[in-house]
Amino acid sequence: MSPSTKDALLIALLRACAVAAAAVVVLIVAFVARDSWPALRDIGIVRFLSDDWSPTGADPGFGIMPMLVATLVTSAGAITLATPLGIASAVFAHFYAPRGLAVLLRRVMELLAGIPSVVYGLWGLVVLVPLLLRFAPPGQSVLAGTLVLTVMILPTVALMADVALAAVPAPTLQAAHALALPRHAIALKVAVPAARSGIVTGIVLAAGRAVGETMAVLMVCGNVVKLPTSVFDPVRTLTANIALEMGYALADHRAALFVSGLCLLLMWMALASTAGLVRGGRHA
């Protein structure tokens, strides 16, 4: 086979892989849209924004605003906490740690990434919630959810930042060293900006995990559908809502739950596209 035929075949194969990967999301969005259509048609978008949430009551309400806010607040909080911690961890592994400790930290991060959400939720429920209870009842709260989510997404940020820092070309670092820059400057002003693209990717993946997390937030957030006025108030996220009620919901209620899922997807799509714009160029 001539080199150019081999090349063409390879590129075709790779394109197929990429298209397959992209097709999955199209299928999922189509599926969610299809099953939410009955509710959108019968109940109407306005009621989803203005009602209370009481789908099984005598006078059903399908308002999802408080849950949308809860999702945004807990995820944003988790990202705000996890990003600096994750980057710091990766900087530590690359610039400050003795070799053995860096490897240990990486292994620990990989482990933390693999602990089931139900274990984090269980730990949150029996350890964290009683701790927070001392500040304000009921303990299940925005803060509990944010803290548990932070712990869950920290490994993703840290590991991706780790890979990104490893990808910074050695000559760049050597040049900085040759200029007698102190270590903290090399790390923060040379390496991290050079690894910006990979780090932002890690943040986006982590944010996705936070927004999509179901089990753990269901166990520690309290699941009350109300706009929070303080971090100690219980809230219900959109994902917890679907998980809590899907198994016991009939017809309209079920379709309404799919609408909340669709809302979540659309919100996330908007966020992800914005992040894509921010990510910027390939090489620093």
Partner: protein, 281 residues
């Protein structure tokens, strides 16, 4: 690329996977619905562990038979049975009027008790007091005669049969309730109350008794003077009770019929009690 050793290992793993898939396809494809050898049950996750234990016991007595138990909630059980995706549905309540096209077989009954933290001095609540707590009119334990402190109201999520039984008994509409915490499964309720001295919730009586025995710091309290124990449920003197039902769409297949008979026989009693439900005669 990969050195030979790793390449061979990877190739072997992939080959194993592929052959397992094809092995499965031959006998898996024909057993989509109920056949003489396989039965699928779906439905409530509350009774799924019990039914799975019964299924395992049944399988050990009838080699070659496979009974698959899946969860997904009571509504799932109803809809799967209607669509023929399952042979039998598991529902943690009695059948509703809208479900009169289906046949129900009572498996067991389950009492629902109010629980509080073990350190709470209260032992009884009246009907009115419960309604006032759950609608948010009473917010402090002081008003009920207990030690001062805010009441954390633990409530089950909408659509769950425990919640429907509870609200139905007290005549409350779901929209009237003002919970502090909403929970999904029984154990989440138990753990929420166990971790909070000011909490009150409601769970299956059997689960409450068993947890208290295991040392979990909760205790069931009496309702209107009726003591909340499995005995009082069995005697019929406890007012808050729900049925656990197996459901079918039309006549049962021979295998399904045998399994239902087994599940309702005296032999199944020990399993029902091991799961802290109350067997019916």
């Amino acid at each position: 690329m990969l050195d030979h050793g790793h390449g061979r290992a990877l190739g072997a793993a992939v080959a194993l996977c592929v052959s397992l898939t094809f092995a499965g396809c031959t006998d898996g494809g024909s057993e989509r619905s109920v056949t003489s050898q396989r039965l699928v049950l779906t439905g409530s996750s509350t009774i799924a562990p019990l039914v799975a234990d019964l299924a395992r016991q049944f399988e050990s007595q009838r080699p070659g038979v496979r009974i698959d138990v899946q969860t997904g909630g009571s509504s799932r059980g109803i809809s799967d049975v209607r669509q023929g995706l399952a042979g039998i549905g598991m529902v943690s309540r009695g059948l509703a009027d809208a479900e009169s096209d289906l046949v129900g077989y009572k498996l067991a009954i389950d009492g629902v008790a109010l629980i509080v933290h073990a350190s709470n001095p209260l032992v009884n609540l009246t009907q009115e007091q419960v309604v006032e707590v759950y609608t948010g009119r009473v917010r402090d334990w002081r008003e009920l005669g207990g030690a001062p402190g805010p009441i954390t109201v633990v409530h089950k999520a909408d659509g769950r049969s425990t919640q429907e039984v509870f609200l139905g008994h007290f005549g409350m509409d779901p929209a009237e309730v003002e919970p502090s915490v909403v929970i999904g499964d029984n154990e989440q309720g138990v753990k929420s109350v166990a971790g909070n001295p000011g909490a009150i919730g409601y769970v299956s009586i059997g689960a409450a008794e068993a947890s208290a025995e295991f040392g979990v710091p909760i205790k069931p309290i009496a309702l209107d003077g009726h003591v909340a124990t499995s005995e009082s449920v069995a005697l019929g003197s406890f007012p808050l009770v729900r049925e656990l039902t197996l459901v079918s769409n039309g006549p049962l297949s021979p295998l399904a019929s045998d399994f239902v008979a087994f599940a309702r026989s005296p032999y199944a009693r020990e399993f029902i009690e091991a799961h802290y439900f109350v067997a019916v005669d």
